[in-house]
Symmetry: C2
Subunit: 149 residues, 2 copies
Amino acid sequence: MKSDVKEVRSHCPVNFALEAVGDRWALLILRDIVFRGKRSYSEFLKSEEGFATNILASRLEHLMACGILTRAEAADDARKAVYSLTAKGLDLVPLLFEMVLWSAKHDPLSEAARIPRLVELIEKNNRKVSAKAMETVRQGEGILRDYVA
Amino acid sequence: MKSDVKEVRSHCPVNFALEAVGDRWALLILRDIVFRGKRSYSEFLKSEEGFATNILASRLEHLMACGILTRAEAADDARKAVYSLTAKGLDLVPLLFEMVLWSAKHDPLSEAARIPRLVELIEKNNRKVSAKAMETVRQGEGILRDYVA
């Protein structure tokens, strides 16, 4: 019988987080949900970084195995699956926001220039703006629309 | 002639950060430097997650190409290389700290239990405790010794 706890190489807290989301494709799925309100396989496939179908499918499975995502039938179409962040997944929002802040500072061509208020709020109090964002995402919406200048 | 700016798939700020450090091995190198004060190839090799030599070498090169690490000769041995975080690399400390916080909350076996004060400080004001940590790392020390209970 397999253990409920996914086996990890070490319980160093940095390593633990990395085994869950230390893969760019996994984190791009989370970005799509948090910022853009995407929920379905076909929506993720359209992202500009170009998911390969097998990678997208394996990362969705991985995130579910880690307890970060759940899958359910769409309310309007039982054949369609919609993915949602669990509470554990929503707790990754501050991590995504720190990435935004770092890139805003270090990428001269950053699209973060389109969301100056969000960048400022993250710098000032990430915990606070994350709590607000989590609430929006919990309701199935993406947060980008609230911040695009 | 190659551009100075590394080509990325998109300038979405999450993707930009991921192209730099969206790989668990790259981030484990940063962890080793920040928390443990490791500086050399042979020290990184000893980490419990088990770097393969080719992966370690390629990730060190990648982090240098991204402007996150620099390499210099050791003061006491010109044949030995020591790696240091640049200012751009040090700015990743708050991101590492958010990982620690997330794992402390979601890994029941987390070694973060050994650093309760750091976890508390990150939750309260990551920006502030990160600034202090960056100063320690800038001086070539790891921060773990300051926080192990």
